[in-house]
Structure formats: C-alpha cells, structure tokens
C-alpha cells in the first residue's frame, strides 16, 4: 500500500518539477511583458530532442551536449522575440496570443521535420542502483530532475533578487514607463526574458527525457499544465508555480495510478478550468485594475 503510494508520489514529483519549470517560464515572460507565451511547451521539447541529438546522434560528451542544448534553446528564444514579438510591439492582446500559437506551430513543424513522430530517449545522467524507500523505487534520474529544478529555482531567485539585471527585469514588469525613465533598456529586458524562459524550459526537457521520453508534439499539453501550475499560485509568482507544478504532478500520477491512466491529462485540464472559473481573485484582471487603466 504505502509502497505503491510512495511510488506514485515520487513519479508525481518528477513530472511536477517539469510543470513547475514550464510555469516559471510563463512567469518570466509574463512579468516582463504581460504576454502568455503559448510556445512555452515547445521549449521543453526542444531541450529533450536537442540533447538527444547532441549525445546520441553526434555522440558528443554529456557536458558539452548540455551546454550546446542550453545555448541553442536560448538562441531560439532570442530569435522568437526578435522576429515575432518585437516587430508586433503594442499590438493588441488577441494578436499577441495568436502569434505565440503560430510560433509554437512553426517550432513543432521544425521538430517534426527533423525528428519525425517517434519518441526519443537517452540514458539517465548517471548510471547506478536506484534508491529504495519503503520499497518504492527511486531512479537516480528522478533525483536529477528534482535537484536540477531546485537549483534552477535557487538561481532564478538569486538572479531576480540579487543581480542588477534581474532587478531591472522585475522593474520593467512593475512599471515599464518608469523603468524606461530610469534608464533601463526595456526592449533588451524583454529579449532576455524570452532567452531565460526558453533555457529554463529546455533544462526541464533535458532532465525529464530519460524518464518519460520526448516527442515533437508534447508541447501543447506541457504548456497547458505549466500554465495551470503558474495560475494556481497567481500568475507571476514563481513560488506559486513550483507548488502548483508539484500539486498537478502528484494529482496526475495518483489519478493515473489509482483511477485510470487515460485520465491523467484530464486532471490538469479540469483543475485549470476550475481555477479560471471559480478562483478569479488572483487570476483575471480585477475590476479595479481595469478601471485604473481606463481612467
């Protein structure tokens, strides 16, 4: 009993870590631009598939592959911002939503063209005996996923709170006009947010692929779940995204384990709709906020 429960719990924490990272990716861009980047899930897929390409296809060493994957993901984030987001500056919200969808389809198209429709996998980061807690098996890769997620969260926290660039990015979020006045290059910060967000997503993809495989069209579902994680704790809050990610991951793996595996995606979707519909407080623009803007 306990063993099975623990097993589900750990697998929930593992996928939950990735949802948390996707959620954080949403937050980073949202904070800098108030755009929801619906291509966020593709960054994760890119991480997994590129890592496979470098390690398995080109047979490059692990660390080099990891660095190359991260650099490529950052570059893709940068290109996305410069080629599509920046030229559309000040366009209306509907258009901004659609352009991120459009980019996600382009990315998916490129991935499908290069990798086909098959799932990919590569060996865990470290070989070795799995741990066992009360009979539940914990693969070493699980520890990697959770550890890397934790590290990302700590680094991002330090970045936003301790470095000048990080603080400047947050300032853009709070008040872009004022940020401009004090000499912050808002456009550069927006670009940086896309790079950072792509890198965070790709790291999640690199870590999870040995456990749950990766294929070209996993992006939309990852994005939806990551978004769900992000709004759970209020959009923009990274701590909220982490907690939200873990909750969704755990609920999902419990549902798959105890009820029916076909319903595991439905869990996140139902939670998403419930939050959007019934917990609007921190979720959609409050009435007073709207009025503030109008008058």
């Amino acid at each position: 009993m306990l063993t099975v429960f623990l097993q589900f719990l750990f697998s929930g924490l593992t996928v939950g870590s990735v949802y948390a990272l996707v959620g954080i990716g949403f937050n980073i861009i949202y904070n800098a631009t108030s755009i929801i980047n619906l291509a966020q899930g593709e960054f994760v897929v890119i991480g997994g598939l590129l890592m496979w390409f470098f390690t398995e296809s080109l047979k490059l060493p692990f660390l080099l592959s990891a660095v190359l994957t991260i650099l490529s993901a950052g570059l893709i984030g940068l290109l996305m911002e410069r080629l599509t987001i920046k030229p559309l500056k000040n366009a209306d919200l509907l258009l901004m939503i659609m352009i991120t969808i459009a980019v996600s389809i382009v990315l998916r198209g490129i991935l499908m063209f290069n990798f086909g429709k098959d799932p990919y996998v590569y060996p865990p980061f470290t070989e070795g005996e799995p741990l066992s807690i009360y009979g539940a098996i914990i693969q070493q890769q699980t520890l990697w996923v959770i550890g890397i997620t934790g590290l990302c969260i700590i680094l991002l926290f330090l970045f936003f709170n301790k470095t000048i660039v990080g603080k400047a990015m947050l300032a853009c979020a709070v008040n872009p006009t004022a940020a401009k006045l004090v000499g912050i290059n808002v456009s550069r910060m927006v670009m940086l947010s896309f790079i950072l967000s792509a890198v965070v997503g790709a790291i999640g993809g690199m870590a999870i692929t040995p456990i749950s495989l990766m294929e070209y069209d996993k992006g939309p579902m990852l994005a939806v779940k990551g978004f769900c994680a992000a709004i759970m704790g209020g959009l923009g809050s990274n701590r909220g995204a982490v907690i939200g990610g873990f909750i969704i991951g755990i609920l999902e793996s419990m549902t798959a384990g105890y009820i029916h595996s076909g319903l595991k995606d439905a869990v996140a979707l139902v939670i998403l709709l419930l939050i959007l519909f019934f917990k609007p407080a921190g979720i959609f623009v409050s009435k007073t906020m709207l009025q503030l803007r109008k008058f």
Binding site: T288, Q291, K294, F295
Partner: protein, 262 residues
C-alpha cells in the same frame, strides 16, 4: 430628480469622495467644478454605476440606484460622455449613434438573423432617428467616417449625440469642452442649451472652462479634495471666498494640468 446622499469612495488609501451630497433639479444644468483630482469624474462614475460607492446612496427619480450595474442605470435613463473619449472607434459616426438606439429598440438575436419584417422596419427607424440626431448636432456631413478619424472636437460632440440617442432623462457630461477651441466651445454651449431647452433633458456638466460654466449653468457645486466646498448660482459661487482661494490658489496648476491633458 437626482439626489446624491452622503457618498464616500476611496481607492486603496486615497479618499476620493468624502460624504458628498448633491441634489439636481429636473430641467437644470448643474455644473460640477473643482481642481483636477477633486473627485468629479469619480462622482459621475458612481452615478452611472461604473463604480459602487463605499457608503451613501444615489436616488434617481426617487429610486435607489446606488448598487445597479451601469447597463441597468443606462436603461433607467441616465446617459453620459467620458472625459477620455470612449467612442466605438472602428465604427462609423452614424453607427455610433445607432448603437445608442439599442436601449430603445428590441430586435432580438434570432429575429435579426432571420430578418423578420418588424426587424427591418425597426432598422429603418433606427437609421432615420440616428440621422436626425446627427442633423441635430451638426455632424450629418460626417456620417460615413470612422469615429476615430474625427478631430477631438467632433468626437466629443458625437459622444453627446450617442448619449442623446438613448433618449435619457439625465445627461452626464465629463469635460465636454476639453481640447476644443473657442469657436467649438461656443458651439458646444449652444448644443447643450438646446438639449436642455428643446429635449428637456437634465444635465450634469463637469467642466473646467469657467466662461462656459458661468454662461450656461443654473447652479454650480464646487468640489475640492473630495468635498463639497460651495454650492449656489453662478453669481454666488463666483463671489465665494473659499472657491476663489481653492481656485486661484491652483489656477496655474489647473491650467498646466489642463494643457498637459489636451
């Protein structure tokens, strides 16, 4: 006709209105004046249901309307214009007015799609009436232009026309002369007077242009920092010491804020 009783409204820590009471007599042009930030727009927003008051009540024709949403209030016969013009920018001048006829007509979703005979009749009526209103506010020659392409002066007049199309009993005007030149302002004054006289619509006018206010209003209420500091006929208000201090003390600022805005 309109009785505002002890209204309080705060935004966060900022007290925008403190215990405001104002009465507007049927058929009057009531001016609401005061320096920028005095709370005039906030008061109009409360009357028209865009904000709910923290405390206090608004009575319109004897009925308490304080907690009704703006849609319902509009249907009860209060219409308004906005300090920052809120036209339907992607629609033509005529269409803007036609939207104003919405509350006075009733073609439904289905019957419109099926183009039932009564819908067509009503549509013709909407069109005729709207053209008449354009004629009335001297914008007939502009009817096919996009509202957002009009110069600001005409946009403000169009907003008044759109409000008139709802056949209101009470019309709230928020700085209708802002951005207008002297000639346009005079024309505006004429239109407002005409509306009151010919259409018998009661008017609440928020305005900085003192000449206009003094010329056309029957009674004036002066707000300062969310409080009523004076009330009376134009003559009385002009002589009021407190008003002079509040105003002259800030004359320059008003002027500056005003220019910055326009």
């Amino acid at each position: 006709m309109l009785n505002i009783k002890g209204i309080w409204k705060s935004f966060g820590g900022l007290m925008a209105l403190r215990h405001i009471s104002v009465d507007v007599k049927e058929g009057d042009i009531k001016a609401l004046i005061g320096p920028n930030g005095a709370g005039k727009t906030t008061l109009l927003n409360i009357i028209s249901g865009i904000y709910q008051p923290d405390k206090g009540e608004v009575f319109f024709l004897g009925r308490n309307i304080s907690n009704l949403p703006s849609t319902k209030i509009a249907r009860k016969g209060i219409s308004r214009t906005f300090q920052h013009v809120e036209l339907f920018g992607n629609m033509t001048v005529l269409e803007n007015i036609m939207v104003g006829r919405y509350v006075k007509t009733k073609a439904g979703f289905f019957s419109s799609g099926l183009k039932m005979p009564y819908v067509m009749k009503e549509e013709k009526e909407i069109q005729r009436k709207s053209e008449e209103i354009l004629e009335y506010i001297n914008l007939a020659q502009r009817n096919d232009e996009l509202a957002s392409n009009l110069p600001i002066g005409e946009q403000r007049i169009l907003e008044i026309g759109r409000a008139l199309a709802t056949e209101p009993r009470l019309l709230l005007l928020d700085e209708p002369a802002a951005g207008l030149n002297i000639r346009e302002t005079r024309n505006l004054g004429e239109i407002i007077r005409k509306i009151r006289k010919e259409l018998r619509i009661t008017i609440v006018l928020v305005e900085h242009d003192m000449e206009l206010v003094m010329r056309i209003s029957d009674s004036i209420t002066v707000l300062n920092f969310g409080e009523v500091i004076a009330e009376g006929t134009p003559l009385e208000v002009q002589k009021n010491r407190e008003v002079i201090v509040a105003y002259l003390g800030e004359e320059e600022e008003i002027q500056r804020g005003y220019n910055a805005h326009t």
